[in-house]
Symmetry: C2
Subunit: 300 residues, 2 copies
């Protein structure tokens, strides 16, 4: 079943110990939709500038991603520049230019109206809420956020959380949102704010699913070389939510497998700069890595 995702489509200049890339195609909605497209139909809502052309469009088309909700306006696309030179697990931001994103007013194409799944990628919670309210009939809503919104836009974020089924954030964000340094207690406090399901991402240590009273831990793949971790979290979300959207019934077992597929897609994202790996990925590679995750964790 189709997922509509709202978020950023952007250009990133990235430096890691493996090298430097100028203005790669990036953005949370880009990584999310590429990853989710291996499991289900994906429809994007975003805004881009005049620098977004046929070559970028083709990346989405190649994965059959619906881009009718990507608005083209005068100006330049969202731009981010960052590096991971000291710590491969932590981006250092050198520059952020909102550009056309500053005046982003998400518009939902009529053709997206029958989407049963909605993903609110990390953007201003005011916009997340607006999209959520414009799509009241979706079956399952998941979302992401970040420290900036938690710290300085808390009231707006709390409104978004009320309308979420699933929240995907990292350890620090979970503890910050709850004001509690114990992960289990913090998770419970966050779930009391709305989302019945919480996925806490631990970077190289995997992720933990809090689903009602149940807890499930999925590993990350120990990688011999992390070329570029940009978009790994969004790719995790795409694999996780894409897999869920493809299920006839969303059972506890489906959530567990979704956690593995999240880890699988996050691991691929790190293997090349930007979306390079995701563009060349095949479904058999995904299934093989899923089996590797099983071997990595299962007793027999």
């Amino acid at each position: 079943m189709a997922i509509t995702v709202v978020g950023s489509v952007a250009y990133d200049t990235i430096e890691t110990p493996a090298g430097r890339r100028e203005r790669c195609l990036g953005g949370a909605a880009t990584y999310f939709s590429l990853a989710a497209s291996f499991f289900t139909n994906v429809r994007v809502i975003a805004v881009v500038g005049e620098d977004f052309g046929k070559r970028q469009e083709a990346v989405f088309q190649a994965r059959n991603i619906d881009t009718r909700g990507i608005e083209h306006t005068a100006g330049k696309s969202f731009f981010w520049e960052g590096s991971y030179l000291e710590n491969i697990n932590e981006a250092k931001t050198h520059n952020t230019e909102l550009n056309v994103f500053a005046a982003f007013e998400p518009k939902i194409p009529e053709a997206y109206g029958d989407s049963e799944f909605l993903f609110l990628a990390n953007i201003d919670p005011v916009l997340q809420r607006r999209v959520r309210e414009a799509m009241p009939d979706v079956k399952l809503v998941a979302g992401d956020t970040m420290n900036y919104w938690i710290k300085d836009h808390r009231a707006a974020l709390l409104e978004v959380l009320k309308g979420l089924d699933i929240l995907l954030i990292n350890d620090t964000e979970t503890k910050m949102l709850a004001g509690n340094n114990n992960l289990v207690q913090a998770a419970r406090a966050v779930m009391a704010l709305g989302p019945k399901t919480l996925v806490v991402k631990h970077g190289e240590y995997g992720a933990t699913l809090f689903h009602g009273a149940k807890i499930f831990r999925a590993p990350a793949l120990p990688l011999e070389e992390v070329i570029d971790p940009t978009g790994a979290g969004d790719s995790f979300a795409g694999g996780f939510f894409g897999y869920l959207a493809a299920q006839r019934e969303i059972t506890p077992a489906a959530y567990r497998s979704a956690m593995f597929y999240g880890g699988v897609m996050g691991s691929f994202a790190c293997e090349r700069f930007g979306t390079e790996r995701m563009q060349k990925l095949t479904r058999p590679e995904i299934d093989a890595r899923f089996n590797l995750f099983r071997e990595l964790t299962h007793l027999d």
Copy 2:
């Protein structure tokens, strides 16, 4: 089959957000042997002072741990004082008094001679090596170390590593020992120094087993309250090595289960101050938690 362990038997004064305890029974060999005693026979080599009396001895006796190798000498036992007030995952040391440990000369009782398993807990690598050489016929040798020995006693430590089958250390220690910030590359470099098997402990994120070319990840239990993390790593080692020592044949599957039992014993250690939880633990509780670890990680 019996394990001989050499290491510290000590007193700890510990402060955590849950409270403060003065001079609890502690030390790596204490935690290790209590944890391992649930799986196999354990024999301790250590040194204590006049402050170690019948009450402390009784803690070992209650678990049928052989204490004939605990030497009693004039003076005070090793003493450590530390706190976990800012970060529950990282001890801040306030005071270390080596006391009788400063002149420790491990003596191996004749009755320990038929031990097939040897654990070299975190002590001076010169002493670790001496014990290793005095027990050349053991079937499997595992050991631990810490940043201090890696940094300032590297040559002596490298000699110990040559004689180890299994090394259990944490992320930071692995990367420091290898001089490499990528865990997989660092693990391979450490294994090239001797141990064919490496267990890297990630604290609240579990542990990774590198066993030849195979990798296995075991979770830690997400704990709602960590009362006192002191000894969690040594309890992990006791569960891990104790389980292995109890197997008729040490297969790859045995290593995987051993990783889970390590996590199980580490999680119990955190639930009370010092060795309090370990003293009251029962085998059915251990088995129930092992099943919980399976549920926490297995797809079906």
